[in-house]
């Protein structure tokens, strides 16, 4: 087969091809160039057809070592580009291995399309070899899914899958294609219109509510913005910044909203919630109008719901109507695409200074421990220091906008969110909703595949790294220059912290043995180093940043360090366990570990 230049236009004339070719033609036409996958019997015809697309340089297949990582890589690819990521797996175990990655993408509104092979349609329902009802299995954890039993349906299904994945609130879509459908020939065209009467991604009229929202905001004496992932998804950080500066409204972000506003900005209070700074959470409990933008009041941000911002009127800007009133009942809801509602709000917001309110926040900020940890003398290696050092060394070398960070889940994830200085929305890739251990390395890989121009760090724990570390082989096979920092504390640290606080320090199932990571990396041909002292951190980070290729650092940190502040589960957000600190002679406040 030869592909003329206009072959992949939606207007290309109809042609007879196989189902397998339809899958790849659709992908290429949708702008996909990288696939993350793992082959097997039921997807073999599609893989066979892939040869020509690879030979022509149209598609590149990345062989993962576990399908969960194919989904996480597609997720990382999607988060780093805003485009749909694609992963591929075979039927049965291949498909079920994807589930964690699909659920992760669903919880964080990440657009991915998952293509799975299925047993031939005549065998459906017979418990055939490697048959699993993956459409049934994934139904609760994806935006939509399809089982294709007729090749005539395949072009439209592919088109709908991409459409649904990216439109409105993004999410994962799975397409399960029977093996006989992959082999069958049919007419392929891609110029048809997607007609989904039940899918209207931008539902309600929001214009009427906007004036009410603006009135509340303008009348507020102590307004506070809580900015979530939706701001980034809508590409609205710039508009947010303009509104914030015009009316001088301070901003707290959610975990996935980090970087919506540069964290060095004087109006930024950083992240709120379970491990947010005390002053951020206190602001939530003291504001008179809470302006929630593109977020869903997850329990990690609200703490105890019946004590959350009770004093405040709530204005909720959100695309997904089902999120409005689900956890927090707003006084005014503006349900619509933030790319439309925020620009419409901007001219309605009056300039303001909120002097008293901002002064009170500054006081709170000053009385809490400084995070300028690089200036302290430390005799032990503690993770917050590493986080600041990685950020600082890396941004000495590269523009902050060129740096992406993926984390795993646990203490290191929270330290990253606290001690990195996120400058851009979308700079941090992390599993916020599902909290999936094992996410960090494959997400960093997907992001690096998508953005070869970026410097990508994976910050992972010794527990989570061991869940997906088999992908070191994929890193080598694909020559991916990702930098991996393992925060090796000998524990499933976050769970250990809960055991320390809430279960009398009974460390059941949390001490975790690690291999020698430097030797492990060497076995894969990846350069690595071990860091045991604060004084070694900068040099190791520099080595990683200047090595042309992947690099791994095993940070052997002090073991029983906790993440502070912490809002205990069931507590209100301002009833937090504060960061232990030392007041220094000259008046500064520093954290104690």
């Amino acid at each position: 087969m030869h592909f003329p230049p206009d072959h992949f236009r939606t207007t290309a004339p109809p042609r007879r091809i196989t189902g397998s070719e339809m899958i790849w033609d659709a992908c290429v036409t949708e702008g996909v160039s990288i696939l993350f996958g793992h082959p097997g019997g039921a997807i073999l015809p599609a893989y066979d057809a892939l040869a020509i697309y690879e030979a022509e340089g149209l598609l590149h297949h990345v062989l993962v070592r576990h399908e969960q990582c194919a989904a996480h890589m597609a997720d990382g690819y999607a988060r780093a580009t805003g485009e749909v990521g694609v992963c591929v797996a075979t039927s049965g175990p291949g498909a079920t291995n994807l589930v964690t990655g699909i659920a992760t993408a669903q919880m964080d509104s990440v657009p991915i399309v998952c293509i799975t092979g299925q047993v031939p349609s005549p065998l459906l329902g017979t418990d055939a070899f490697q048959e699993a009802d993956i459409v049934g299995v994934t139904q609760p954890v994806c935006k939509h899914n399809y089982l294709v039993t007729d090749v005539a349906d395949l072009p439209m299904v592919m088109k709908e899958a991409f459409y649904i994945a990216r439109k409105g609130r993004p999410g994962p879509v799975l397409v399960d294609v029977c093996k006989d459908v992959q082999i069958a020939e049919g007419e392929f065209r891609y110029d048809m219109e997607v007609k989904l009467p039940g899918f209207n991604p931008y539902p309600a009229a929001w214009q009427d509510a906007l004036a009410d929202a603006a009135d509340l905001i303008n009348a507020a004496e102590a307004p506070l913005i809580m900015a979530g992932h939706g701001i980034h998804l809508a590409g609205m950080s710039d508009v947010l910044l303009r509104i914030v500066e015009k009316a001088e409204i301070p901003v707290v972000t959610t975990l996935l909203g980090t970087g919506n506003i540069t964290e060095t900005h004087p109006l930024s209070l950083g992240m709120g919630g379970m491990h947010g700074e005390a002053y951020a959470n206190e602001a939530v409990q003291a504001c008179d109008v809470l302006i929630a933008l593109g977020m869903r009041f997850d329990d990690r941000i609200t703490g105890r719901l019946d004590r959350f911002a009770k004093q405040a009127s709530v204005v909720h800007f959100e695309l997904d109507k089902a999120e409005v009133g689900k956890n927090v009942q707003p006084d005014v809801a503006v349900v619509g695409d933030l790319a439309e509602t925020l620009p419409a709000l901007e001219p309605l917001v009056h300039p303001n200074t909120h002097t008293e309110w901002l002064a009170s926040l500054t006081d709170r900020k000053l009385s809490s421990a400084s995070k300028d940890i690089l200036t302290f003398e430390l005799d032990e290696l503690v993770p917050p220091f590493i986080m600041r050092q990685i950020w600082s060394e890396t941004t000495n070398l590269r523009d902050p906008g060129d740096v992406l960070v993926a984390t795993d889940v646990g203490q290191h994830q929270m330290w990253e969110s606290q001690y990195f200085v996120h400058e851009r929305a979308g700079q941090l890739l992390t599993s916020g909703g599902l909290g999936t251990m094992g996410y960090g390395v494959p997400a960093a890989m997907g992001a690096q595949m998508a953005r070869p121009d970026k410097l990508v760090w994976a910050i992972v724990g010794d527990g989570g790294f061991q869940m997906t570390m088999q992908e070191l082989a994929t890193i080598q096979q694909e020559k991916l220059p990702v930098k991996i920092a393992i925060i090796n504390n000998g524990f499933l640290g976050m769970v250990r912290q809960w055991q320390q606080f809430f279960h009398d320090k009974r460390y059941v199932g949390t001490p975790v043995l690690s291999p020698d990571y430097v030797m492990l990396a060497a076995a894969y041909g990846i350069p690595a180093s071990k860091v045991e002292e604060p004084g070694q951190v900068a040099e190791a980070v520099r080595a990683a940043n200047t090595t042309d290729g992947p690099y791994l650092i095993d940070f052997q940190v002090k073991e029983e360090v906790n993440v502070y502040p912490m809002v205990a589960p069931g507590a209100a957000v301002d009833e937090l366990i504060r960061r232990p600190h030392i007041v220094q002679d000259h008046g500064g406040v520093v954290p104690a570990f």
């Binding site: 459409v135 049934g136 139904q139 609760p140 935006k143 939509h144 089982l147 649904i164 409105g168 609130r169 989904l196 009467p197 039940g198 899918f199 209207n200 991604p201 539902p203 309600a204 695309l319 997904d320 109507k321 089902a322 409005v324 009133g325 689900k326 009942q329």
Partner: protein
């Protein structure tokens, strides 16, 4: 509080599963559920009763409409609808008691669909309460087997009142193809 909802959905394989799966995993308490064809070919109509406050109802509606196959969701206030259910009941009645049972059936405007020396098959259509009371009375005899459809409902037309109750608009708005 009980709410009655109707959802219209594309008649696709697995669509029922999608709807019932959503209701159960979102922890909504469903009292009854009934599926049938609708006036439009290719579109099924599901009628169900949800137990919960107004916020629950709102959540059920907004979650349902997010399903790609669900094209429309409506909730009704009880006064504005005609709500009916059908039941088939088999009772063991011999010749001696037959007369009594036939009298009952007549009062309830039910019908006898089948009869034998030992038992009787009764059909009743109506409001839930009416069916409940007939079944309650039939329990005095030996009730062998029973099946009920669960209620189906339709909004009254404002002009042609079937009964004399006040006619109200459906509660809330109609969500046509909403969702994300």
């Amino acid at each position: 509080m009980k709410h009655i909802l109707a959802a219209w959905m594309r008649d696709r394989p697995g669509v029922l599963n999608r709807v019932t799966g959503l209701l159960s995993r979102r922890n909504f308490n469903i009292d009854s559920l009934q599926v049938s064809a609708s006036e439009e070919t290719g579109i099924s109509r599901m009628t169900f009763e949800v137990n919960g406050d107004d916020r629950t109802l709102e959540q059920v509606r907004s979650q349902l409409i997010k399903l790609v196959d669900v094209t429309r969701v409506e909730s009704f206030v009880q006064e504005a609808i005609v709500k009916r259910e059908l039941a088939l009941v088999r009772v063991a009645v011999g010749p001696e008691e037959r007369r009594q049972v036939l009298d009952l059936i007549q009062v309830f405007r039910a019908t006898v669909e089948d009869i034998s020396r030992t038992d009787m098959l009764i059909q009743i259509v109506g409001r839930q309460e009416k069916i409940d009371s007939l079944i309650g009375l039939l329990r005095d005899y030996h009730l062998l087997e029973m099946v009920r459809t669960g209620p189906v409902a339709i909004v009254r037309s404002a002009v042609a009142n079937v009964e004399s109750e006040p006619v109200l608009e459906p509660a809330g708005d109609t969500w046509q193809g909403g969702g994300v």
